[in-house]
Symmetry: C2
Subunit: 212 residues, 2 copies
DNA sequence: ACTAGCTTGTGAAGGATTTCACAAGCCCCC
DNA sequence: GGGGGCTTGTGAAATCCTTCACAAGCTAGT
């Protein structure tokens, strides 16, 4: 397959959300124009995004909502359930562990880990926080391929190395430090300070030529 | 000024972090090559990014760390303190309100708001959770221009409309729903499910031609 | 003061992504 | 069964972003 741009994947995820809302409203078909309007893009963009993966619509009609949902789920790999481990049960780790937006989307948090003896054993929704020393064994046992890192910056690289050695193949990182991943492991980092700084940049440099 | 790509702003934020680390290690100068290595990009990219805003280096030497820190801070608008209000004191709102990565970077959380009477009055670090009915008055009084939305999807658009009417000019949104902003207001949304889905896409479609 | 050795700043080239624009296909109605 | 009205899928064009490559400038050492 040709290389797919990240922006395309991001938009597919967005389309999927709109389609699911449409399905909930018993909507039968949807046009690229409507998806575009919802997603703040253009109909040509929507069609191009989909065209990388096949041809899912009917000319004159649009896309069948249920079919397109199924197609995008399969493209994104959401046609299965992904076990996820969360490393670090601090403020953000705990919030994510209890976040229902994950479970409703094919992700199942199967383990939450911390080093702090005071936290180990505490319950978070249906999960008990476990000792980080159990990480390797659990990852193997649960066949988890995705880890979410919510530990302090200093610990992030070490934990990343450990979980990838144990079999993790994709990492979502919240620590604001750059990480190195072994080849074959996917990594994404969410840096909230950077997000705010993109906003202050916009506020600061908007003197002329109004923003988007 | 010419239009600046978001990717450039994002990298500037990253360079700033490395520069600050360099400063902490008493490093005097740094070359575009070193910044590039740290940031996982190329030296030409670093120089191009900076060149949009001026010329900050010395040929043969590199960049003076302290000077470049100051320059990038000014470019990003970090040479002042930004009062920020957090709307929604649930799991993620509370985590962000207590996040030290913001305060250390020129952002000061000046108010946390919720609708739930059980939460109003509770303390979060040094802050008391306030009633959302106080939002408009406080935004005006505190001259806050940035709001972080941590409320359920259904409430997000309503709250966004309210805070922008009250004077907010930039919004960081964590609800996974598309929002409309009035012209002149900057919006960024962080969608954690999408981040995970970009990872599952990578895991699913990596059969041939290894990832990144 | 001159040279060797780096490193910057930047046009130009190259590559990637988005937008344009239109032929082709499908539905529905007459 | 044919025509009007939409909408898709997609090459080609346009735009945006990154990489190349090199002249110019600075430092340090002699
Ligand atoms: N709180 C936020 O809103 C927020 C926002 C963005 C990013 N972050 C980042 O997320 C990370 C966590 O932040 P937080 O606010 O939740 O901090 P926190 O201190 O509340 O939580 C960190 C947790 O990690 C645990 N930990 C430390 N070392 C560990 C190890 N080796 N193995 C397992 N667990 C370990 C600690 O015991 C603690 O429970 C930090 O890197 C922070 O910069 C936090
Ligand atoms: N928890 C997470 O890790 C996480 C991750 C990503 C995104 N999100 C999103 O962030 C938002 C909040 O999630 P959460 O997990 O913190 O939920 P939560 O239920 O813990 O918190 C939501 C809070 O918003 C408050 N609220 C509701 N309506 C309000 C209003 N009109 N004015 C002021 N406050 C109001 C509620 O009282 C509650 O305290 C949701 O949109 C969620 O999808 C959460």
């Amino acid at each position: 397959m040709k290389h797919i741009a990240e922006s395309t994947v991001r938009r597919l995820s967005l389309y999927l959300r709109f389609l699911e809302e449409g399905e909930a409203r018993a909507q039968d078909t949807i046009s690229s124009g409507e998806l575009a309007r919802l997603g703040g893009t253009t109909s040509a963009q929507v069609r191009k995004d989909l065209s990388f993966f096949g041809s899912f619509g009917k000319r004159g009609l649009g896309y069948h909502v249920k079919d397109l949902i199924e197609a995008i789920r399969e493209i994104l790999g959401l046609d299965k359930t992904w076990p996820v481990v969360i490393v670090g049960a601090g403020k953000i780790g705990a919030a994510l562990a209890q976040y229902r937006g994950f479970s409703s989307r094919g992700f199942r948090v199967v383990g939450v880990y911390d080093r702090d003896p005071a936290r180990i054993g505490q319950r978070l929704d249906g999960l008990t926080i476990r000792a980080e020393s159990e990480l390797e064994r659990d990852i193997a046992k649960l066949k988890a391929q995705i880890a979410v890192l919510c530990v302090p910056s200093e610990a992030a690289q070490v934990l990343l190395d450990r979980v990838t050695k144990a079999g993790i193949r994709a990492v979502l990182n919240f620590a604001p430090s750059p990480l190195r991943v072994p080849k074959g492991v996917a990594l994404r980092s969410v840096n909230m300070a950077t997000e705010l700084e993109i906003l202050t940049f916009a506020l600061t440099n908007r003197i002329e030529g109004g923003p988007r």
